[in-house]
Subunit: 134 residues, 2 copies
Amino acid sequence: MDSERPDLGAMVMRLGRRLIAMEEPILERHGLTMWAYVVLTALREGPTRTQAALAQSIGADKTRLIPILDDLQKRGLIERDPDPADRRVRLLGLTTEGQRKQRAIQSEIRTAEDDLLEDAADREAFVRALRDLT
Amino acid sequence: MDSERPDLGAMVMRLGRRLIAMEEPILERHGLTMWAYVVLTALREGPTRTQAALAQSIGADKTRLIPILDDLQKRGLIERDPDPADRRVRLLGLTTEGQRKQRAIQSEIRTAEDDLLEDAADREAFVRALRDLT
DNA sequence: TATTGTTATACTCTATAACTATA
DNA sequence: TATAGTTATAGAGTATAACAATA
């Protein structure tokens, strides 16, 4: 391994900030925050049974989720209904409109990512290694 | 490029958090915060002429730097003297002890990073691409 | 008047603790 | 009593604005 390179953490975090800066204008055009998009993307994998489970899966606190879910629900992007079997629990899922929106945003982000990766040799290997590590 | 993968930003940020979690115990053993270590590492590249320039080079606000520099100076890890040619300016550099400390920490971090990268195929390509992108 | 560094203040993000409703 | 969700509050981290020293 190359012995004279910046710390991995520093490089990765710098790239992360760059990617987020790239995504932000896209999200803003769609009127969503980063966390709201993260929620839509997590729900796309499949519906979630409790808000606490969703919070954990995206690395957020359950209390942080609430205003985000309020907004997404108000805008008709998610469903959030009490579980008839245990009315303490809220069943969460994407609406058709929510699915459409998530796909539209992700597609724009993918295009921008591919642009950015153009600069890198070994970009297929980069993405493979990234998947292995996460 | 693989069409069914998580967003690059999500993966990169997740890896970044993992790397930081890995570095934190090392830094704690040395009694330094992440930002203090970032400052030592930036100064290792060579002395800096103004605090504002240092702040910008590490992506921090100049006001955030001040308590960090206060602490590093008090502990004898950096020099911070008014420039005789323009006494508004503080010349910043590592002391011998500061250099020693930075090298010791970086070496420990490198060892831990190499452990973590073991899990990934294509790790040389990964690091190359990461350098290209940052 | 402009610039470097510093201090004081405000703002944003996040987590902790207390509360409501169900079980 | 225990748990899911919610609300209220407090803390950390960060940025903005005002200030002091020097040019």
